[in-house]
């Protein structure tokens, strides 16, 4: 896909995202926390974390005493899936913000997940399957292992490995991950798990051997793409999930030639099937702001994937130990 076209789309979608500020910002109102976390990821990947410190401070403000977050900012009960997403956004942003209150909040989130883990390594959330739920704290802990302090790493290491083992044990012989209750088709679950939890161990010290699992997962994802470039019968959410997964896994396995044409076809489909502003759940439907955050995130990751530095896209998941450098790719303001 033409990179100038991608840059233009990022610019216009970033402006739309900025105009929708009151609908996702905790500085304006109570919000749906999953949407907030999606928005925080967009801010991070646009290189606007420093300018958006109040957004991250507001996220800290609504953290519960147990270290988790509710599904809604005003909800009192913590939920694992969204808590991991929030913790992840804070530790990644704080790699550049260096804010002591955010660091305290990250520590509280770590304690929450250490306390909530079940004996067999999984985490549980009544609104999500156990595999998908577990992939989120593992993803958070992946980034703790990459960007956290040495004390943080020491605290999470055993828990992180047990969570990852639960995920690896759940992979089917064909390479997919299936959830009989929530996702029997396996598309979204496989796309989430391989990028959010499994693949990071290729670059993190003390990870488990995951290369065969990643290869099988990537092959499974590519094999399940529909002929028009989408996944799951024109499902925009699942197509974005699978495309992001293919970007990261193919790069980290150095198997991009296998995935390149399919990624390009998926990107074309995603661009053709967007609305004038934002993305819908399915082509022809009205814009969904969460899906729009996903779409913008995907464009930013695709743009990074096309850069000469092979690590550039990996930064977008936070898996590369050390200081993040993606802030140099600054785009439209929020």
């Amino acid at each position: 896909m033409d990179l100038e076209k991608v840059a233009g789309l990022i610019e216009s979608e970033a402006q739309f995202f900025a105009r929708a500020h009151s609908r996702w910002s905790l500085t304006k109102d109570h919000q749906d926390m999953e949407l907030v976390a999606h928005a925080m990821r967009v801010i991070l990947h646009m290189g606007r974390a420093v300018d958006s410190l109040p957004e991250y401070q507001a996220l800290v403000e609504v953290q519960h005493a147990d270290g988790g977050w509710g599904r809604e900012s005003a909800e009192k009960e913590s939920a694992a899936w969204v808590s991991a997403f929030c913790g992840l956004m804070l530790i990644r942003a704080n790699a550049v913000l260096k804010d002591p209150e955010i660091e305290k909040s990250v520590w509280k989130a770590i304690e929450y997940f250490l306390n909530q883990q079940r004996e067999n390594g999984r985490w549980v959330d009544s609104e999500w399957g156990d595999l998908d739920t577990t992939s989120h704290p593992v993803s958070f802990f992946n980034v703790v292992m990459a960007l956290g302090t040495s004390k943080m790493k020491e605290a999470v290491r055993a828990s992180w490995r047990r969570g990852l083992r639960f995920i690896l044990d759940g992979q089917s012989a064909d390479g997919g991950w299936y959830d009989p209750v929530f996702q029997p088709s396996g598309v979204e679950t496989t796309a989430h798990l391989v990028q959010d939890s499994v693949v990071a161990s290729l670059v993190l010290p003390d990870g488990l051997p995951v290369r065969p699992a990643c290869e099988k997962g990537l092959n499974w994802i590519l094999a399940h793409q529909d002929s028009d470039g989408s996944w799951d019968e024109k499902n925009e959410d699942h197509t974005m999930d699978c495309t992001r997964s293919a970007l990261l896994i193919s790069r980290m396995l150095r198997q991009e030639e296998k995935a390149r044409l399919r990624i390009e076809k998926a990107m074309e489909w995603i661009v053709v099937n967007k609305n004038e502003n934002g993305w819908p759940d399915f082509p022809g439907m009205e814009t969904n702001l969460e899906r729009t955050c996903d779409g913008l995130d995907l464009l930013l990751k695709y743009q990074a994937w096309r850069q000469a530095d092979p690590q550039e896209v990996v930064w977008r998941w936070g898996y590369v130990p050390g200081e993040p450098t993606f802030l140099r790719g600054v785009t439209a303001g929020v």
Partner: protein, 102 residues
């Protein structure tokens, strides 16, 4: 008072259709000649149920949300995945070649 929302031939067996009633999105399903109507937005993350697949879960007909897989009983709107959740369900009447809700 019922409201006509579609012509019968617009919703053949095996097809679902999105209709709007008093500003509310409703997903209309025809399963082998039996019509069901549910609020279109999933109780989880507002996924469009009209795009979901109809499944038989232990003799219960249900639609699976296409986004994150929650199941809703077609006859009642009761959520089978998380029993405390539900979506609205609407009585459906077919007469004079029309599908009517209410």
């Amino acid at each position: 008072m019922s409201e006509a929302v579609a012509k019968l031939e617009e919703v053949p067996s095996g097809i679902s259709k999105l209709v709007t009633v008093e500003g509310q999105e409703v997903a209309l399903f025809n399963v082998e000649g039996m019509f069901y109507a549910l609020g279109n937005r999933c109780a989880h993350r507002s996924g469009p149920l009209v795009k979901g697949k109809v499944e038989k879960v232990e003799e219960t007909l249900a639609v699976r949300c296409p986004i994150h897989g929650w199941l809703f009983e077609l006859a009642t709107g009761r959520c089978l995945t998380r029993p405390s959740a539900s979506v609205p369900s609407f009585p459906v009447l077919c007469e004079n070649g029309e599908v009517r809700l209410g």
